[in-house]
């Protein structure tokens, strides 16, 4: 199975861009399937269904959505195979700026909204810095100068990535993205690794503690002054 993992902040235009790209993929004769991961709710499956691509939703509920996506990759690949797909596209929820769900051999795509301001590329962390492709959306809403600065900022964070300026409404740039999808390679999960380790999240909050006072917390904890320690047995 070839695998494309698409990350990006909520509402950045992941689905809009993918709809156009997957239509091109279809025209090029490659069969694809999409899995949308979100936390509580999504209606992206309806949007993908409209273009006739097999679609599955995974809601992570109480689990971190990126961890959930990584943990369920095998099921997703099996499901895509059952649907005769040769290309699996995973659209993540993209909430945490510390996780990057890209695996080494998948194609890692980061979708980033140009209206979010030129400091955003500096803030979003590994899902931009480890991406193969950065797709900039909503450039139609800002000046050319702002677009050029945004682009430069992305290259500061990830000098190696290929930048595609796309428009989720008109589909401009999405054919180019589809060409990159066509170049993606087969992934077998046996030996597959993440590009970037997920952040530590082992503490009492993770298992349901709701009291805020410090004295109730155990685990790997980091103070605002930068001091990190392990509290517990």
């Amino acid at each position: 199975m070839r695998m494309v993992i698409v990350a990006g902040t909520p509402g950045s235009g992941k689905t809009a861009v993918l709809i156009h790209a997957l239509q091109s993929i279809n025209e090029m004769g490659l069969k694809s399937a999409v899995v949308k991961i979100d936390c509580l709710y999504t209606d992206d499956d309806r949007k993908f269904a409209k273009i006739g691509v097999p679609t599955k939703v995974g809601l992570s509920m109480d689990m971190c959505p990126d961890h959930y996506a990584i943990y369920n990759l095998e099921e997703m690949i099996d499901w895509a195979g059952e649907n005769q797909a040769e290309l699996l596209v995973v659209e993540t929820a993209g909430l945490c700026h510390r996780c990057a769900p890209f695996t080494v051999n998948s194609l890692g795509v980061c979708v980033i909204d140009a209206t979010s301001g030129p400091n955003t590329p500096l803030k979003v962390g590994p899902f931009l810095s480890t991406a193969d492709i950065a797709v900039i959306t909503k450039g139609d809403m800002i000046s050319q100068a702002e677009r050029e600065i945004f682009r430069e900022r992305i290259l500061e964070v990830n000098p190696e990535c290929k930048i595609i300026e796309a428009n989720g409404l008109s589909g401009q740039g999405c054919a180019e993205l589809a060409d990159e999808f066509m170049k993606s390679q087969e992934v077998s999960l046996d030996q597959e690794k993440l590009r970037h380790s997920a952040p530590l999240a082992v503490c009492t909050l993770c298992v349901g503690e709701t009291r805020v006072n410090k004295k109730h917390h155990r685990g790997i904890l980091r103070r605002i002054d930068g001091f990190q320690s392990y509290e517990g047995e």
Binding site: I142, S143, E152, Q172
Partner: protein, 255 residues
């Protein structure tokens, strides 16, 4: 060196082939783009800005000197052939005017001395002065527009210049056009303003997302353009008087 660009027609909103199949714009020419709101004027110059290769919904193709531009030419801002003043009236970037202009100058490979020149030029086009330490997002529509014009004129110094509705936001449009349309450039001006439209050499008429016709500005129109300029000058001076709190007691309408 860019001698000419070619627009190869695509399809209108109903997917019919555009009546105008091919437009060639040569160095030194100013083209207007006219048509009702929603007729596809901004989309047309958007296609040129991206040097589209049948990859937008209009399926137009843009050639430079008769050839397809390279990927590098289309995307690298340092090599960028096109400077565009879009229709947007406000900046969204959260930074000061000075930081913004320095960053943009860096992107375009322009000298950092440009920053002051841009602010100076912008302040000749608009009312209340813009300062380096102002936040971009607090600028008024007119101030933002003036700054965008000056930025395009000085920092984005490209051989192809695209201008979308310069007349908006009440800046001095003649001065703005003069600053933008330097000598030997290829210039396209989207406009609803007859004064600006008649200042161009030819105009592309848009309808329903497609290029309908090309109208050359004839000698009579060029004469009329001079008259319209006078009327416009009169309106401008009246505007300035009203703005400055003066009372208008007489208007000389004999032109």
């Amino acid at each position: 060196m860019i001698e000419e660009i070619t627009i190869i027609g695509g399809f209108d909103k109903q997917e019919n082939p555009e009546p105008v199949k091919k437009v060639i714009i040569k160095k030194g020419e100013i083209f207007g783009v006219v048509g009702p709101t929603g007729s596809g004027k901004s989309s047309l110059i958007g296609d040129i800005e991206q040097l589209s290769q049948e990859d937008t919904f209009s399926k137009r193709k843009i050639l430079v000197n008769g050839e397809e531009p390279s990927y590098e030419d289309r995307t690298n801002p340092r090599k960028k052939m096109v400077a565009q003043l879009s229709q947007n009236m406000n900046f969204l970037a959260d930074m000061t005017v000075g930081d913004f202009l320095s960053l943009h100058a860096k992107c375009r490979g322009a000298h950092s001395k440009c920053v002051n020149a841009v602010i100076e030029l912008a302040n000749t086009l608009t009312g209340e002065p813009i300062k380096k330490e102002h936040d971009l997002t607090i600028l008024s529509g007119g101030q933002s527009r003036a700054l965008m014009v000056a930025d395009v004129a000085i920092i984005s110094n490209s051989p192809i210049v695209l201008i979308d509705e310069l007349e908006n936001a009440g800046i001095r449009k003649h001065d703005a056009l003069k600053a933008l349309a330097g000598h030997g450039k290829i210039v396209m001006v989207v406009t609803h303003d007859p004064v600006l439209a008649l200042m161009t050499d030819k105009r592309i008429v848009m309808k329903n997302g497609g290029m309908q016709a090309i109208v050359g500005t004839n000698d009579k129109e060029k004469d009329l353009s001079k008259k319209l300029n006078k009327i416009d000058g009169l309106m401008l001076s009246l505007r300035d008087k009203v703005r400055n709190g003066e009372v208008i007691d007489n208007v000389d309408v004999k032109i």
